[in-house]
């Protein structure tokens, strides 16, 4: 199963991930990302890859 990894130290809170996949990412009040569901189903792979690629600071990874 896929796993979303977010490096909160790298995250700059820019919210691109939230824009691409709002069901999985949300920027919190402290300005860093919260992963809403770390183990998404396979059907979300495309949306999640788009979110990972959109992060300007490369804070996100998808692991299999």
């Amino acid at each position: 199963m896929m796993k979303i990894e977010a490096d909160r130290a790298k995250c700059d809170g820019l919210g691109m991930c939230e824009a691409m996949a709002p069901d999985f990412f949300e920027v919190g009040d402290d300005g860093t990302v919260v992963v809403l569901d770390e183990r998404p189903g396979e059907e979300y792979r495309q949306d999640l890859s788009a979110a990972v690629d959109a992060c300007p600071v490369l804070a996100l990874k998808l692991r299999d």
Binding site: G15, D29, P56
Partner: protein, 402 residues
């Protein structure tokens, strides 16, 4: 098949990455005027200017990785200097490279201050070299004068203040950023400068520079006054880099010479697409308005889409992006989504707990600006993308204002 991408920065890189990700195995040539492989400009006016910032600029991929991992032929340090759209050839470095598909991603060049040639200490901030020079001046404790209160100039002023150096911004308009965020939000942004101790001269025109021995010493104003300076950074806008397209038949915008394309990024010339800061693209989300955006996310998205569409024009889909940019000054985060061209702007959260301004066109929300409200901005982006009715956006703002 050969894909040629001209412009080796964010949009160009995302174009070649998307082509490979989609399984394209053919030849890719990436032509770039700079000596470096593609690197990120974002940090150049931010972390890179910090006293403890990174000492060097790391590219997204090394030249070897571009070659070996992405299978790209990089032609770096060599600007394309002509395009023949009939023969489908790009001229570079005294030779020609043939293409089947071409992505134009040559971005924009910073406008220079007239009369600054040959005066040391006067810079623009667009390239790695520019950033190194500005940083070195800050390291020497320069008194900084920024000309133009746009986002990049404002970030430079903030970087100088962060080091405890004096910083001054001179702006010709009476409200900074009025074109990018409107008057009210521009005034709020201006107040961030003043609170942080940056001197802000509005409605002020620069008439020249003072120099001593070829080194800048001051900025002369229309009033005759001279602001002392060891470092002058001009943030007075950019010009699309399309000189090499003269006579090629690729449509150029009459105002600024940027490449005009439709919502699929097609230029109308067979096989030729454009992406990033160079491109004016129609945006169906905002009444088909032609938009030339100078934003990171736009360059990344358009770069990838342009390559995909160049290979499969029949399955090309119109892009309807919600523009998004952000900027960091004095520890405050300014974020903007959508367009500031509106019938009405409403302040939804007053400046004490951060600031939110919403932009209405007819009966829907078309833009939102926030200061220090990182949690909300992407929700507004969704409202805008979904053409949400104005009352809905106002209700959301009221619910989050506390």
């Amino acid at each position: 098949m050969t894909l040629v991408v001209v412009g080796a920065s964010l949009a160009g890189l995302r174009a070649v990455e998307a082509a490979r990700r989609d399984g394209y195995r053919g030849r890719i040539v990436l032509i770039g005027a700079e000596d470096h492989p593609p690197y990120d400009r974002l940090p150049l006016s931010k972390a890179f200017l910090d006293a403890e910032g990174p000492g060097r600029i790391e590219p997204f991929h090394s030249e070897a990785a571009l070659r070996d991992e992405l299978g790209v032929e990089p032609v770096l340090g060599a600007p394309a200097d002509g395009l023949d759209t009939t023969a489908r050839e790009v001229a570079v470095d005294g030779r020609t490279v043939s293409y089947d598909a071409l992505v134009i991603a040559t971005g924009a060049t910073a406008r220079r201050l007239p009369g600054s040639e040959g005066i040391a200490g006067v810079h623009t901030l667009r390239t790695a070299e520019d950033a190194l020079a500005v940083r070195a001046a800050l390291d020497r404790g320069a008194r900084t004068v920024v000309i133009g209160a746009g986002f990049i100039g404002s970030e430079v002023a903030a970087a100088a203040r962060k080091r405890g150096l004096s910083s001054t911004i001179v702006e010709a308009l009476d409200v900074p950023l009025i074109r990018s965020v409107g008057a009210e939000a521009g005034a709020v942004c201006a107040s961030l400068h003043r609170e942080a101790g940056t001197e802000l001269w509005l409605s002020t025109t620069v008439t020249g520079l003072e120099a001593n021995g070829g080194v800048v010493t001051g900025v002369r104003l229309a009033s005759g006054e001279v602001l002392p300076a060891d470092l002058v950074v001009a943030g007075i806008g950019v010009v699309p880099a399309t000189g090499w397209l003269a006579g090629s038949g690729v449509p150029l915008h009459e105002r600024d010479g940027g490449v005009v394309c439709d919502a699929t990024l097609a230029t109308g010339v067979p096989g030729v697409y454009a992406a990033g800061d160079v491109a004016h693209a129609e945006n169906p989300l905002f009444d088909g308005e032609l938009m030339r955006l100078e934003h990171w996310t736009n360059a990344a998205e358009q770069g990838a889409a342009a390559a995909r569409h160049a290979f499969a024009p029949e399955s090309a889909r119109a892009l309807a992006p919600v523009p998004y940019f952000w900027s960091d000054w004095y520890g405050h985060r300014i974020q903007f989504v959508g367009t500031p061209r509106a019938d009405e702007v409403v302040t939804a959260v007053p400046a004490s707990g951060g600031f939110t301004a919403l932009y209405r066109r007819r009966d829907r929300i078309v833009g939102a600006l926030t200061v220090d409200r990182p949690r909300e901005i992407m929700k507004y982006r969704r409202h805008i993308a979904g053409r949400a009715p104005w009352p809905e956006a106002l209700a959301f703002a009221a619910a989050t204002a506390a």
